[in-house]
Amino acid sequence: MSYGFKLACVSLAAFLIVNWTAAMMVSGIAPAAIRAAAGMRARSAARLLWTLRMAPSAAALLAVMALGVPSYLRFEPEGDGEAVGAACLVTALLAIAAPLNSMMRSARAVWRSRRAAGLPIAMAGVIQPRLVLSGEIPRLLSSEELDAALRHEYAHAASRDNLKRLLMLLAPDSFAFFRPLASVERAWKKFAEWAADDEAVSGDRRRAVALASALVRVARLGAAAKYELVTPLIEEDLALRVERLLDDSHPPARPAIRGPWTLAACIAGLAVIFAIILQPGAQSGAYALLEALIR
């Protein structure tokens, strides 16, 4: 069996195992994380939940690329005639199926979102998002309401929410009908909407009322088509969003974690990961695990 084929099989199988283990761990802490997010500013909450949703796939990719592949290339002798075991082969096939399914879903979503027809007001497109506005909207909304609604959509564009949606589609988390990270994804969508509301309003109470009014007026137009990579003005939780906009006491006072703290946390995280990878025994340990997986 060829050296490259074995490497591909073992890398895919390792990716699936690490991704699944990490996804199950994240799903275990998800209820606590979602509760913690409820006490944060909406943008920080959305950021936390998106990081959690992407963490398993990122960890799996990092483990394979930084540890699995280098250790295989370093220790695996060429032409040793070792065959890939059935369990490893099946796991590798499952590992292909999951990202393939994600890629097909993503490609379909990108294709569908190109037209984004039948939507009253939305932000469509991943790399260069564009505003979709039906002809009736400027007639339906007052200038103040239209301004608030447009600010909401541009807030989605500024935070690259459609790109984040695409990356979530690409990061496999499903096994048959079980999606361990579905609750994290739903919570992210809610907080991303709230964050765009907060940024559109920017503390102006009149604008908050105008946005609430725009939401209700657009909701009166009826249910619109749904696209995975399009952010419409209203997706779900209309009542909750309107009541939140009318409530003067939001957002909670806890400050957003950003700027130097985020950078410091990322650098510290990367330092820990590289410290583990560069440990003398790390590669040989990883190779021993890969060997066990191949058989």
Partner: protein, 120 residues
């Protein structure tokens, strides 16, 4: 569940103190334990007592309950699913309409309030 949803993490004593109808400590403890075993609550040990928190939000629970109800109604072959679905659509439309009217009332009230504050 209402108390745990509104209050968040709660011990048996917290719930007993907030019950409108006085109930024995052991009754509440047994009920919370059953809700935990049914997967509606999660719990952790704090000192020597359990602290309970909801496993899902009220909206998630209502969604799950509604899904189960609709599935059970549609699964009953003696009933016509068309009639059920059309009644359901009617009910949802009426609910939507009343919800939107309610939200519009709140928006009008808020506008008036802001207007009054501006004039002061």
């Amino acid at each position: 569940m209402d108390l745990v949803w509104s209050r968040g993490e709660s011990s048996v004593r917290d719930i007993v103190e907030r019950m409108e109808r006085p109930l024995a400590y052991t009754t509440v403890m047994t009920t919370l334990d059953r809700l935990f075993k049914k997967g509606l609550l999660e719990r952790r040990k704090s000192d020597r007592a359990f602290v309970y928190s909801p496993q899902m939000t009220r909206a998630e629970w209502e969604q799950k309950l509604a899904g189960q109800l609709v599935r059970s109604l549609l699964a009953d072959r003696r009933r016509s699913s068309d009639v059920l679905i059309s009644s359901l659509v009617d009910a949802v439309s009426e609910q939507d309409e009343s919800l939107l009217e309610d939200l519009e009332r709140k928006i009008r009230r808020k506008r008036r309030e802001l207007e009054r504050q501006r004039k002061k």
